[in-house]
């Protein structure tokens, strides 16, 4: 599909929305972080139409109205702000560090740094950072009227044989774990 220039009004709208949300994140992070309580973005919003606005899901969860065109935000002082957001998921502490640069009430730079190795938390953070369209919903292939299935499940015979060998090997005494 050809790349298209964003509509000026839309760009303005998006930036204004971004400013509201991100500043909300930076200045609102302390009251969001109650020890022992996960941030609410761990719970996904209900499925909605595909959106390009990466912060729509966050807005929806926090009941932040989208910015109206022409709205003014004069409360923000130009500069670069950094805040760390500690939160707890499944009993494990995690942090994200958010750095935002604001010029003329518009966010001109945004950086989110994840500081966790905890797989589950990382998933939540990826989910947050990407603000993706919807949850995966599966339906039985047998009930679908389709001609073909496209997927990666059909692996080569050599691979399947080798996996069988490894399963067998892993039951013997000299089994060597696969290092990661």
């Amino acid at each position: 599909m050809p790349a298209s220039e964003p509509h000026p009004a839309r760009t303005h709208l998006t930036r204004a929305g971004l400013a509201v949300v991100v500043v909300g994140l930076v200045f609102g992070v302390n009251h969001l972080q109650r020890p022992g309580e996960p941030l609410s973005f761990a719970t996904p919003p209900p499925p909605q139409e595909p959106v390009n606005d990466a912060y729509a899901a966050y807005r929806a969860q926090h009941n932040i109205a989208p910015a109206e065109e022409g709205a003014h935000y004069e409360a923000y002082v130009d500069g670069t702000y950094t805040a760390t957001g500690p939160y707890v998921v499944a009993g494990v502490s995690n942090e994200i560090e958010v750095t935002v640069t604001i010029e003329n009430n518009v966010v001109t730079h945004l950086e989110v740094v994840e500081a966790t190795d905890h797989a589950t938390s990382r998933s939540y953070q990826v989910r947050f950072a990407a603000a993706i369209e919807s949850e995966v919903v599966g339906r039985s292939v047998n009930e679908l009227d389709v001609h073909r299935v496209a997927g990666a499940s059909v692996t080569s015979k050599g691979f399947r044989r080798a996996m069988d060998a490894i399963r067998e090997h892993s039951r013997t005494e000299d089994a060597a774990p696969v290092e990661v």
Partner: protein
């Protein structure tokens, strides 16, 4: 029912659907196309041309289909900032995805040599000076190390390229084919749209959506079904030699299977929008968080 013909190629089952059944001569020619492709490009065969390139460094003359594949790799390397790079054969071997399918880590992660190490002149290819072999602590060569040439692995688009070859050959043979399916990567042809289910990455009996294809191809790529240890699978970031973690399954729809195949790999490393700016294609992908992303103009239905 229209004729269907199944055969084995590249270690998987293929199927060609056509309005005319292929006779023995037609089947021989189609099998010959698949066999020659395997003999040329399989890095798992010691008698393949890419294995010879890895042993000698070339120059070697390849079949006429190589330049198109390498041109597409130019695009892939560029758009993914080097995350996709076909010189990652040693990186795959280090993780155990080798000719013996040892599926055991053979050594530390190995970044691929730069794409510019491969020098092309039409169909003649050579690889630049040997790359240093595995080194010991402190970067010094270990006693048993020896220099190696980069290994060309066209895995990101090879299967799609063969799908296109077989479709072209079947048309040449007058079979009036409507689908060539290389175990999940497929191209369709003809006046009727073909409905294709997108397989759930965690459960092959389920689908996460349906797309409609018309004279185009779809390729799927996933890591969940081809893992041989925690986090060990065949989609590597060539810059680090390490498997990717953020995306578990991708689909790309494009005019040719080779392009669809290539884009389905690129989707592990770049956002769909970055690819959409560079080529006419549609996308679906699933993140490790279980979320699904897809092109706004996707012709089909993502279940919700």
């Amino acid at each position: 029912m229209l004729p269907q013909w199944r055969f084995e190629a590249l270690g998987a089952t293929w199927q060609i659907d056509s309005h005319l059944a292929p006779d023995a001569a037609a089947r021989d020619r189609l099998l010959g196309v698949a066999k020659r492709f395997d003999q040329t490009y399989s890095r798992f065969r010691s008698d393949s041309l890419v294995s010879e390139l890895a042993r000698t460094g070339g120059p070697l003359r390849f079949p006429a289909d190589l330049p198109r594949m390498l041109d597409l790799y130019d695009l892939l390397v560029d758009v993914t900032n080097g995350a996709v790079n076909p010189l990652l054969g040693h990186s795959l071997n280090a993780l155990g995805y080798d000719a013996e399918y040892s599926l055991r880590r053979q050594g530390p992660d190995r970044p691929a040599p730069p794409w510019s190490s491969l020098i092309r002149d039409g169909t003649v290819v050579r690889v630049r000076a040997p790359i240093p072999a595995l080194t010991g602590a402190g970067g010094h060569s270990t006693a048993d190390s020896h220099d190696e040439f980069p290994i060309l692995d066209i895995g990101a688009l090879g299967k799609g390229a063969l799908v296109d070859h077989l479709m072209t050959t079947a048309i040449d043979l007058g079979l009036d084919p409507w689908c060539v399916d290389g175990s999940g990567d497929l191209v369709v042809r003809g006046p009727d749209p073909v409905r294709v289910a997108l397989e759930h990455p965690a459960d092959p009996s389920q689908a996460i959506g349906i797309v409609e294809l018309e004279n185009e191809a779809i390729a799927a790529s996933g890591i969940s079904r081809r893992q041989w240890g925690a986090g060990l699978h065949h989609v590597l970031d060539a810059r680090t030699g390490m498997p990717t973690t953020d995306i578990v399954a991708t689909w790309a729809i494009a005019p040719q299977a080779m392009l669809a195949d290539a884009l389905s790999t690129a989707l592990f490393f770049v956002h769909p929008e970055a690819l959409a700016e560079r080529c006419d294609a549609q996308f679906v992908r699933i993140t490790s968080a279980g979320r699904i992303q897809y092109s706004p103009d996707l012709r089909g239905d993502i279940f919700r």
